[in-house]
């Protein structure tokens, strides 16, 4: 058991193997994400009752909270993959790190915009410089910094290395985002979901939230697989396996 896991990982890190593996995984992940997303949205928008304080405005939670979790989760994946890439110089780790960045930035953007649209009717303002909002904005800038630094280099692998260092340093911000509502006095509410205690939410509001969380996770897997596949084709354009992949698509 413990012997074959590193061996399997080693095989999987070979670009042609990962290309095929990701090609099998992404349609399933995307399909399940769409199914879970449809169920979660139906549960959140139709089945869940209005909140006794916020009325129907609280329904933003079903996209806001899963997106916020993804913004931090994807950053953690990117930082770990960057660490692996910087230390062991595994090409696939660079690809995973750099292709995660735009997806993470997308979820961070959704978090900020949906939070703003939620904040206006509930707090009376689109934006406030409180700890949670500011640290989440810093997270977006970190993603954009990683993407920008990656593209600033002529040599893609050198760019991935430099951007990887930034991603590793920026991981400091993730616990700051998470604990900001506890460490500082913020306008943002505290955690609704507690995995190690009782959650402050009714069951018919909780399950759509968890299903949406699952949907966003699956979407990330699908999107990362698709982006990594394309990136591997671009990176390994001169290799025989890429020419075999492309050749059937060449019209005779």
């Amino acid at each position: 058991m413990t012997r074959w896991i590193p061996l399997w990982l080693h095989r999987l890190s070979s670009p042609p193997t990962f290309y095929r593996f990701a090609g099998v995984v992404w349609p399933w992940a995307m399909g399940l994400a769409l199914v879970a997303g449809a169920i979660g949205l139906y549960g959140g928008l139709v089945l869940a009752p209005p909140d006794y304080q916020q009325g129907d405005a609280y329904r933003v939670i079903f996209i806001h909270v899963p997106s916020a979790w993804m913004s931090m989760f994807i950053y953690a994946v990117m930082a770990v993959a960057s660490f692996v890439a910087v230390v062991w110089r595994i090409k696939l780790a660079e690809v995973v790190a750099m292709q995660s960045a735009p997806i993470g930035a997308a979820f961070t953007f959704i978090t900020l915009v949906s939070g703003s649209l939620w904040g206006k009717p509930m707090w009376g303002t689109w934006w406030t410089w409180d700890a949670r909002l500011t640290s989440e904005l810093v997270l977006l800038f970190l993603y954009l910094g990683v993407i920008g630094l990656y593209h600033a280099f002529e040599d893609r692998r050198q760019g991935a290395r430099a951007a990887g260092f930034l991603a590793i340093i920026g991981i400091i911000n993730v616990p700051i985002v998470h604990f900001s509502v506890n460490w500082w006095n913020t306008l943002h509410q505290g955690s609704t979901i507690n995995f190690f205690g009782s959650s402050k939410i009714a069951a018919d509001m909780l399950w759509p939230l968890l299903v949406m969380t699952l949907a966003t996770k699956l979407y990330y897997v699908a999107s990362l697989c698709r982006r990594a596949r394309v990136d591997l084709l671009a990176l390994e354009g001169n290799k025989a396996w890429v020419q075999e992949v492309v050749a059937p698509e060449v019209t005779p």
Binding site: L41, L45, V46, P50, G55, D56, A57, R59, V60, I63, H64, S67, P102, I103, A106, F109, I110, V113, S114, L117, W118, K120, P121, Y219, S223, R226, R227, R229, V230, L233, A234, G237, V242, Q243, V246, A247, E249, V250
Partner: protein, 79 residues
């Protein structure tokens, strides 16, 4: 339009906040899925063109000694 659908779309008076939030969520993720689709199309087109060029060059290199005399074949291969 039925009144229950109207009530659903009204979102208890918060339609102007709830629906844009969901629209942003769906549009941003749709955009995210289109990026690799378009990039793949471009990269495959480029790699195909490169393969065709390589094949043409190899054909020319192999065909040259047949089409011309042996002495003329050497410079054409170096091109």
């Amino acid at each position: 339009m039925s009144s229950s659908l109207q009530a659903f779309l009204a979102m208890g008076g918060y339609a102007a906040y709830v629906w844009p939030a969901y629209a942003v969520f769906l549009l941003v993720l749709l955009g995210d899925t289109l990026v690799p689709t378009l990039r793949r199309r471009r990269i495959v087109r480029e790699l195909r063109a490169r393969l065709v060029r390589q094949a043409a060059r190899q054909d020319a290199a192999h065909a040259a000694p047949v089409a011309e005399s042996g002495a003329a074949a050497a410079p054409s291969r170096s091109r």
